[in-house]
Amino acid sequence: MPIEKVDGFYFHPTSRDRVLAQRHADPAKTPWTPLEKPLAQCKVTLVSTAGIFMKDDVSFDYEREHREGTWGDPTHREIPKTAGQHDVEYSHLHVDTSFLAEDRNVSWPVDIFLEFEREGKIGALADTLYSIMGYIPNFNPLVKRTAPLMIEKMKAEGVDAAFLYPV
């Protein structure tokens, strides 16, 4: 029986009450930017929440998260699109990242978008891809500081659209 409506708590039913108790987004405030041209002419980028960072870059701050379990690093890391499967760490502490470490396309589809680029399905994959570490209980610094920094870089690279891959 094909699924008609996704149950977001299917794999984590014990989180249902906790999540539903949080303030919901107001659909009337959802932002909107129309796609101005065909995807085949667009430069796109990818954003993951898997805590991905280059092996020669600075890790997300897990020392502080271990000291303060209710805190999560709200910063981001940039990953060149040329980075390979094993050039990065997949570091999110709240999900099993071993599958990503084995095959990044389970949630970080760089190879698929490089194929889209070769096929002309997208205009180009941007040189820079992005990751945050998705456990950010206080998302204010993410909204106020991190997102604008990512957007600034995306605009500088001429990005038309970003695909978000939460884990």
């Binding site: 659909p27 898997a50 709240h94 389970v106 949630s107 909204v143």
Partner: protein, 98 residues
Amino acid sequence: MPRAVFVQYPFGRQLGIVGDYVGQRRICEDMTALLEEAKAPNAYRHLPYEWPEPPETTKWRPDVPPPIFTVRQAKEGGHNLLDDFKDEERAAYTDAER
């Protein structure tokens, strides 16, 4: 989120199982299609694909529980994460700024 596709797959493997490139690509194609087809905000699409394992036996949790797990265990009953925020910036965050 202005546009989103939802899929009933486990945390950490939202595009499919390891090695299933065809299935992974199919969901990326669903995403690119929605980007081109959506004409207004709150454009959401639920994908019909079913995960091949029952949720009880699907591995998605890390072998070592995250720090918040210990925090929750230390407190009696449930608690609101928002109560634990120490970041003073949160106090200045209002609906008007969203």
